[in-house]
Symmetry: D2
């Protein structure tokens, strides 16, 4: 059985493990004050073109989201998210557990736009009987594989600034977004247009780790306390620093994401060639082909994937995820199996 279920089925990219080995017995200060973490932060500051960015490494996406959101919001403030947003769907109420409502906007493509946010502000206007929307949370790539264009992101950013809304980008799959064929955003754009974002390591080749980037250090001047208080400050912070250093010093991060995207697009092209359609217009490493149920059953004998949604009696949409570690040979085999499933080939 081969995994197309997620992008964290393997360990880390071998170069990362190699660095852990090489540095292993170097004594270092704890709690993120090690040389590797400092160097990794400097490289990320360079790549984002923002020498003042305040950067913190933590272990996972849900942790990141609850830390950032609770650090920036006051108790009566709320965050706006697409209804498909990770904080609303798959984080076990982590944001509410920090005391904040997640206000949702229904979207088809997983992306928020100004109109949707505007409507929320209108609905939530009866002060003080309603929470105060104060942050916009977006994911790039989204949870359904789509990405924000530069124009879309600029519009959001301008609107958020005008409305005093923080703009926070969840970058669990930022590598995949920035290396998508139709992408026109850069890390520097994101640093310029968002208030805070994170760069996901776990889903792009690290053992674990996400890099939180506050574009202005004024945004969370005491974030270190919050990290510690919520159990997110590793004694051996080095293991996060070493990984991000390795990922960014030679753009390995983007190479890995590009591979994942290429594998997904290769499958997508085959799906299309077979005449099947998709649930979403993904250009990243998650695709949602709509296939006949009989074919799905057949594929599920060799491959692991998530049956996302039933379309009708005969068809369902799958979620297939590729990663830095996806073997092209398996992808080719999958494509062969897909084609064999075509009626004419049976």
């Amino acid at each position: 059985m081969y995994h197309f279920k997620n992008d964290y089925a393997e360990g880390a990219h071998p170069d990362i493990l190699q660095q852990l080995l090489i540095t292993n017995l170097q004594q270092q200060p704890g709690y993120g004050e090690d040389d590797y973490s400092l160097a990794a932060k400097n490289i990320i500051r360079e790549k984002t073109g923002n020498p003042n960015a305040a950067i913190y490494f933590v272990t996972g996406g849900t942790q990141t989201n609850l830390l950032v959101i609770s650090a920036l919001l006051r108790q009566h403030e709320a965050v706006i998210s697409a209804q498909s947003g990770h904080i609303f769907v798959h984080e076990t109420g982590a944001i509410e557990a920090q005391g904040h409502r997640v206000i949702t906007v229904t979207t088809d493509n997983g992306k928020l736009n100004v109109a949707g946010i505007e409507k929320v502000l209108q609905t939530y206007s009866l002060r003080p009987h309603m929470v105060k929307p104060r942050m916009v949370y977006i994911s790039n790539a989204t949870e359904i594989g789509t990405i924000y264009t530069k124009r879309e992101f600029e519009e959001l950013s301008a609107y958020c600034r005008a409305q005093h809304l923080y703009l926070f980008m969840d970058g669990a799959r930022m590598g995949h977004a920035l290396t998508a064929e139709n992408n026109d955003l850069t890390l520097a754009d994101i640093a310029r247009l968002a208030d805070v974002f994170y760069i996901g390591g776990t889903k792009n080749g690290a053992l674990l780790g996400e890099a939180i980037v506050f574009n202005s250090p004024d945004l969370a001047p005491e974030f270190d306390y919050i990290l510690k208080q919520k159990g997110a400050l590793l004694a051996k912070g080095r293991i996060l620093g070493i990984q991000f250093l390795e990922l960014f010093k030679n753009d390995l991060y983007f190479d890995l994401a590009r591979h994942a995207n290429r594998m997904a697009m290769k499958i997508a092209a085959a799906v299309k060639a077979c005449g099947y359609t998709f649930l979403t217009e993904s250009t990243t490493n998650q695709i949602f082909p709509i296939l006949p149920k009989a074919l799905i059953k057949k594929l599920s004998e060799k491959y692991l994937f998530f049956e996302w949604q039933e379309i009708d009696e005969a068809r369902s949409a799958l979620r297939l995820i590729t990663s830095w570690a996806t073997e092209e040979a398996v992808v080719d085999e999958f494509i062969r199996d897909l084609k064999e499933g075509l009626p004419m080939n049976k």
Copy 2:
């Protein structure tokens, strides 16, 4: 400069890194459902003699403490700790941030006893105007290097059960406690006498990781939700499972702790031989020698350590910590430097 400042200055024991390498490309389910985690849990169940224990792996001690305490306490309940307890001193109010008071008892030796807890129960009796004490938190080894005897621990356990108090042992340095020369407790004793405890990996050779052990699975039947909600559930749970499997399959865990203790005791013997005394009666890997300030200054040119407390104008107590990675050659050098500091040798 050589680190005696903490027991997490290096990476992981090489055998652990080796296992990460060997298993790296094996595809595995996420979120702790991987084969390694399951195997590691089984070995720990065996070692504790409790086939029903519910075990969870997380990334650090503060995270563990806030998860366990918030999972077991209702909102109006409080935890009792020694004033020197880690949850009171060094966790940035993590327990209060979960809504619970930490009630402290002043002790000389870092250990709680029945008399101290009894007094708390008397003080906190004016229902409903006071929180309800509901848990006793102890550390073994304690934050000042001492350990609980079997008898002490049995007394605590019997009292807690009679008073409906949960007994939770923080085992960040449990390896060091159980391998101390004066120890008479076993892992099985702890499993029998505590309600919940954790086995620290971070401070004993792992890259990161603590194993939470609920001795009865009824205690936290939905702990998985809480792990996820608080950002403690790693997508690649395998990296914790692999490490604990390696630490426990051949008792590496205890060998590493024994080494750390031996290094500390070697220094302690030298300190004693020099005629100096100690602030606490430690038999584990943290010792607190009281030394002349001039000598401290001299030692601080070559070694990193924490100046714990001023004793008088001429002397201070240091905290020296050894670890699985402490090199015996450096310990010997430190002892030489210590002896050279003696007046007669100057």
Copy 3:
């Protein structure tokens, strides 16, 4: 200007003030242990036919909701509400501030049914990545004036028990529900079918005060601690006890609600007679007539009310609320003004 904006524009029913005067200098224990509170609880236990009910008096509806919900739910559990539910719309995220998600179900009539809840359970099934639905919150009368029939409520209750969901009825306007012309529920039915409910005083003639009724005392055995911890335990608990005693000893509570309903229904009949329609099928003291904007403008010169929702370019729905204190003469005048607004009368 006359208020049809809410049912709390005046002070208290004169009989209640009279009792406050009569009892004023009687010394009594504090914190709800006074004779009046004890007597009031006994009467409520009688009226509900449940001698074991655990009853607590607090000062307002939002306070009640946050106390009850946070007392019954564990941290990873959530409450299901209609999208129009007070806890979702008008309590400034009070439930989320206690750490819990409010899961909403869209309904036309403000009422939850089994199908809606069932769908929530299906959606929230991916343990542990989603919160666990654990309580159903309903309002009777609802926020749009409708009421639950006995049959509807029995179905909900049976389903909730089968699914281990707590059933909590918000009775801010319970008096109005139970005295509506189409009502077939009794206080005893509610005590039998819900796990917990509250009887609203603030909106039915008290200065302030709501009575929380746990039908089983096992549900919140330490609720007194929680009341105190959240600032809801009045030193002079007597002022709540005296009011509920007066409201229930001779069924004043129901008389007041009946008056409010009668005033609303009188207006509703006139609205209907004029040929206008309603946004909701209310039989209680909140009605939502759809009127021409010109007429609304005219009425707004003499009466205060809430413009609830625009229907089209020419019409809007109002919310008119009557209360125990609404003067029939004013209602008659309002009706006259309404009729004068008819095209033929202009």
Copy 4:
């Protein structure tokens, strides 16, 4: 049996009830926007000499403390209190339930001073492993009847400003403090020197109610949301406004407190005349005489009071509390009974 157990055994001062009656049927906006509340705020602004003060009325002391403290502190910040402070002793962990540690300082007289706070700042300096002290909480009068002098309060205020610590005065018994014979503080001093304080109504003649005064409106610009979110915003806010208006429009507030103090001092003088001593140097309405246990037993047959603390085998300290409602005739009788208890009189 006559109550010396607390100062909330009766209802409200008759003038207050009278005002509730007079105003009862006046229609008013809800949620504190009524004319009475606005007028009461204006009078308090006048009395404090601060036209910009932001004032909110709530129902009780614990509620006030948790609202103010949680509104001003960020999640990693803590409040410093005397160990005898109400927030530490008698509020069921309300502050911790909001996520904040209460750091205590041991004092003999219930008062904090600069030296005590300074020591806390030194202890809590290991960023980010410890919470950040950010507020100083004091009570005036204190929980043991003592009061702050102007000089003491000025020193505290200067120190807090220099150290960026909010200074919050709990005035549950502020009337008693400001009318004590040895008082030299004014309401205007407090408005000038504290950041926020509250004026207690419940313990000085109101049915219920406390007035929170932010000396600078910038301190909590969105406090209205927080009031609502935590269930503290009364629909009929008028009942708080009416009471504070009555209490302050003719200084009734101070007259009531003066009476309570005079009753206590009358008893205290008799205690002294009998040759007994006191546990604390109270000049307000709570006194703590140390009496022979036999005498206490005798007194307890006619009077209710709290046995505060055993002094030795023969003696205990009582807490006797007088109030605006304490009858002088009963005080005289108590004094007679006290004198009859003298050995020579037996």
